[in-house]
């Protein structure tokens, strides 16, 4: 039989197969696949001892004294340990970690004048390289954090409370030689204790320590070419090049995980369980943090079980809902005020097209346009807060009542803020600049950094509502690159700008100062100064009795309402997207990159 004949024969036999039987057979196979194999595949925990988190953020440096970004601090949180930590989900209650007790006035570890803190240091803790931790290492860690003091770094967070000045160099960059002696005097090792003397009472000191004061090994640092802890050499390590420090891409902490590798090429950080941890070792063996820029790819990897948690923000919420095997945990509080529109009280006019003619003639604004309170109040009443929460936050979150978010003490839920009321807005605009604004109108440019959708929507809401009040009011909305935005904002050229703030540590001071004090981050750019606000902020930091502090903040928030140097919009809540086989996770807004990144120690897969 030829091959062609064979083929015809096979075809003839195939035709004889009962079509009905064949369909039945197909049905059985498909149902078996759906009923048995697929659910089995879904319920299977993929890589049970490896946790993979996909993010978009890049780590800047692994050095605890250098990093000032959440991606880096997420790794630092899991590898290094501070003296104290936040207890569970609390942002107020602390628990001992490397210290064995929390200093309080009651146990005598905080002196009566609130200036001296004593930390008994835990014994039997070893660094990842095997060297035992000593009180000397605790001192070294704090000293290194302060004395490294790189430009635009976090050192001032400890310099300010401990030494009473924010920097180790003057404005011209000259090193203040007294710093080492001051720090050496302020932090002392006494037996098994480390004693810290503050310059003045500083209410948030312990919360700052819990976030920033991690312990590093002095011996390891010196052996790897970093500062040896002596006065003779400290200046050499002041304001260094990032990549020159061994701490940049190596880590040697005491925490539940150790750094296996930082693969910069594949944007991947792999942490390995520390089997010699002083507490019970973690249940996860490996934690991988991977950079995946594209959301759709992150989502597919989560669905396939190749990722256990992913970064997903509010705009993509509908796309992660109802995914098989994926869990969403929503309404998680944050420590941020984002976004916030700020008014510039004295705008720089040099080469500045954003203020049009620079005069109050309907084609521009004068440089001190926003110094008139009625203008600011007009804008505050013209903003549609509810629509903003609905459109941008998809209805999640609550209206902010001041610059201190809900998750922190000092927040006052009863504090009044402006309502969306175009009539009231109109009244204020009519009073502003003795009626000139209403008569002649104005025109200026409202700028935001391009690519930021919530900020864009916010600017459009302002434009739409304010322009609807009077046809002579004109606002141009313009997106610019971050670099341009930064340049113009830093030189006070933007009449109004939109930015956000994430807390460094969970204390109201970390919002009161940057938002209200004339030397704070935003008022400095806005040229806003109210001596009363300055005084209140300064008083609040010295006050260690919580009730009295709260009363001071209540006054400050009232002043914020009356002055309206910026608009507060929403107390943001976030959500977390993870596989439902993840167990043990808990939220604390203090954790860097929270709620996406986490403290990996309690997590396991089941």
């Amino acid at each position: 039989m030829k091959i062609g004949d064979k083929f015809i024969e096979v075809k003839r036999v195939a035709k004889q197969v009962d079509k009905f039987t064949f369909r039945k057979f197909l049905c059985i196979i498909l149902s078996a696949y759906h009923l048995i194999i697929l659910p089995y595949a879904w319920s299977q925990v993929k890589n049970p001892d490896t946790y993979t988190y996909l993010t978009i953020s890049d780590v800047d440096s692994m050095d605890p004294a250098w990093s000032y970004d959440t991606a880096s601090h997420l790794q630092i949180l899991n590898v290094y340990e501070p003296l104290l930590a936040y207890k569970g989900s609390s942002t107020e209650e602390l628990e001992p970690l490397i210290a064995t007790k929390i200093p309080t006035p009651a146990n005598g570890l905080i002196s009566k004048d609130s200036l001296t803190y004593t930390f008994p240091i835990r014994k039997g803790v070893v660094f990842h390289d095997g060297t035992p931790l000593t009180p000397e290492d605790v001192k070294y860690g704090l000293m290194r954090f302060m004395l490294q003091d790189r430009d635009a770094g976090p050192s001032s967070l400890l310099l300010e409370p401990i030494l009473g000045y924010p920097a180790t160099r003057d404005e011209k960059g000259k090193i203040n030689e007294a710093v080492f002696k001051d720090a050496d005097r302020a932090i002392q090792v006494k037996g098994d204790n480390v004693v810290v003397h503050l310059k003045r009472p500083y209410a948030p000191f312990l919360t700052i320590l819990a976030q920033w004061g991690v312990v590093v090994s002095k011996k390891w640092a010196a052996a790897n070419g970093d500062w040896d802890g002596t006065e003779a050499t400290w200046e050499k390590y002041n304001n260094p090049k990032k990549e020159s420090a061994p701490f940049f891409d190596k880590m040697n902490g005491t925490g539940p995980f150790l750094l296996e590798r930082w693969d910069k090429k594949n944007k991947e950080i792999v942490l390995l369980r520390n089997d010699h941890y002083w507490r019970k070792p973690a249940r996860l063996k490996r934690v991988i943090t991977k950079g995946v820029d594209e959301f759709a790819t992150r989502k597919l990897m989560l669905q396939a079980g190749d990722a256990d948690a992913i970064y997903a923000d509010r705009p993509v919420f509908p796309q992660v809902q109802n995914l098989e095997g994926v869990q969403i945990i929503d309404e998680l509080p944050t420590m941020e005020m984002n976004p916030t529109p700020f008014f510039t009280f004295h705008i720089d006019t040099t080469a500045n097209p954003d203020i049009g003619s620079g005069k109050l003639d309907g084609n521009g604004i004068p440089p001190d346009f926003f110094s008139d309170k009625d203008i600011r109040k007009g804008f505050a009443h013209a903003f549609d807060y509810s629509s903003f929460i609905q459109d941008v936050q998809r209805g999640k979150g609550t209206r902010a009542t001041g610059c201190i978010p809900r998750s922190l003490p000092g927040h006052n839920p009863k504090q009044k803020w402006y309502d969306y009321d175009l009539k009231k807005a109109q009244e204020h605009f009519k009073k502003a600049w003795k009626g000139e604004v209403w008569k002649k109108g104005f025109q200026f440019t409202l700028t935001f950094n391009s690519g930021n959708v919530p900020r864009q929507t916010l600017c459009q809401i302002i434009k739409r509502n304010v322009e609807s009040i009077n046809p002579k009011f004109k606002i141009d909305v313009r997106p610019v690159q971050w670099s341009t935005f930064l340049d113009r904002m830093n030189t006070s050229k933007l009449p109004m700008f939109v930015l956000g703030w994430n807390a460094d540590f969970p204390d109201p001071h970390n919002f009161a100062f940057p938002f209200m004090h004339s030397k704070g981050n935003f008022p400095g750019l806005q040229k806003y100064k109210n001596p009363q606000a300055d005084r209140l902020v300064e008083d609040s930091i010295k006050e260690v009795i919580p009730a009295k502090r709260k009363a001071i903040y209540a006054k400050l928030l009232q002043l914020e309402y009356e002055d309206a140097p910026h608009l507060v919009l929403v107390d943001t809540v976030r959500y977390r997207t993870q596989r439902n086989w993840i167990k043990g996770w808990y939220h604390n807004p203090v954790f860097p990159d929270s709620p996406y990144g986490s403290y990996f120690y309690p997590i396991y897969k089941e």
């Binding site: 890049d58 590798r261 594949n266 820029d293 597919l300 670099s483 030189t491 460094d504 940057p514």
Partner: protein, 341 residues
């Protein structure tokens, strides 16, 4: 010929120098504050703006900044790329092999399919195959690569769970970073063979399929159209008629006579395509989370990472010069009338 190649290669440093001078000059149009945005990413850091400008000497005059950079370069140091978090030279060595692998893997299908389909659609003008190639060219050319990439990823990874994104799986990741695997070339497929780990080869291969198909589908379109029009021009020429008249078989007429003459524009385009892919394919790399050089280049440009941008531009200009050189040499090969002097 050799003299020609050497002369062109000798020009390479000059071209590179020109590129860096031009780029450095253009970047000076940005204010020091704008260039400081690389180091200041958060409102918390704003107060340190001036200190950062001083530290990185961003306010120095152009010749001073360029001089410092050039001096550094002569010492073999291309500077530190803030976006890659490593020295520029190291960044190129880290990212380039992945892109090179992807380029090799997708370029040969592009070339074969492009030339074959182009020839066929010219020979069988307006027939079925021509219509198919026209359809492919139009869709390939108008389909954004992120759409095609995502659709492929959804089908082959999301639904069929066959071809995952990234460059390798977790198992490979753990192996290649362990002591049991030596990285000789940085090319995963080559290294896996040298280490005699065939499953790693298979893993790497699987991860290359989807990005290659995406690149192939999108880039083949232009090549098909160019080959087709160039072929159409050739097969209507007298020498083709003569060849047919003297009784040569159709395949010899088309494949040997006409196609060889039609290849000149195809070579030009192919060399450009290859260099283009080697210089990074940002969107494909982003969608498939493939750690190639394109993402680094774009990141560096967006964040004004000047050493990164210049390092990337240097690499690209060298690739471009070399690509053109290869094309010129190939012209002489396919058409002996062209003499390289």
């Amino acid at each position: 010929m050799l003299a020609f190649i050497l002369r062109r290669l000798a020009l390479l440093p000059l071209v590179a120098l020109g590129v860096t001078l031009l780029l450095f000059g253009l970047l000076q149009f940005l204010t020091p504050e704008m260039r400081a945005s690389l180091y200041i990413k958060d409102p918390r850091q704003l107060s340190a703006m001036e200190a950062v400008i001083q530290k990185y000497k961003l306010r120095d005059p152009f010749p001073v900044q360029y001089g410092v950079w050039l001096k550094q370069l002569l010492g073999g140091d291309l500077g530190y790329s803030e976006t890659a978090k490593m020295p520029v030279g190291e960044a190129v060595r880290a990212f380039f092999p992945a892109t090179f692998e992807l380029a090799l893997f997708s370029f040969f299908p592009i070339l074969t399919i492009g030339i074959w389909l182009g020839t066929q659609s010219a020979v069988k003008k307006d027939k079925f195959i021509d219509q198919v190639s026209r359809f492919m060219a139009i869709t390939g050319y108008s389909l954004p690569s992120f759409v095609l990439g995502l659709v492929l990823l959804m089908i082959f990874y999301g639904h069929l769970k066959l071809l995952p994104p990234g460059r390798f799986s977790l198992e490979t990741d753990l192996l290649i970073h362990s002591e049991n695997f030596r990285q000789y070339t940085g090319l995963l497929l080559a290294d896996s063979i040298l280490n005699r780990k065939l499953w790693v080869f298979w893993d790497g291969f699987k991860h290359l399929i989807l990005p290659s198909i995406t690149l192939c589908y999108i880039n083949v379109a232009l090549l098909v159209r160019i080959t087709r029009s160039s072929m159409l021009e050739e097969i209507n020429k007298d020498y083709v008629r003569t060849a047919r008249a003297k009784g040569l078989s159709e395949s010899v007429v088309i494949n040997k006579h006409a196609r060889k003459n039609a290849l000149i524009p195809v070579i030009t385009l192919s060399s450009l395509l290859f260099v283009g892919i080697l210089g990074g394919v940002v969107i494909t790399e982003t969608v498939f989370n493939y750690p190639g050089i394109g993402r680094w280049g774009v990141n560096a440009a967006q964040q004004l990472d000047i050493p990164g941008v210049i390092g990337f531009a240097l690499l690209y200009s060298c690739l471009f010069v070399l690509g053109n050189l290869v094309a010129d040499t190939l012209y002489a090969y396919v058409d002996p009338r062209i003499r390289l002097k």
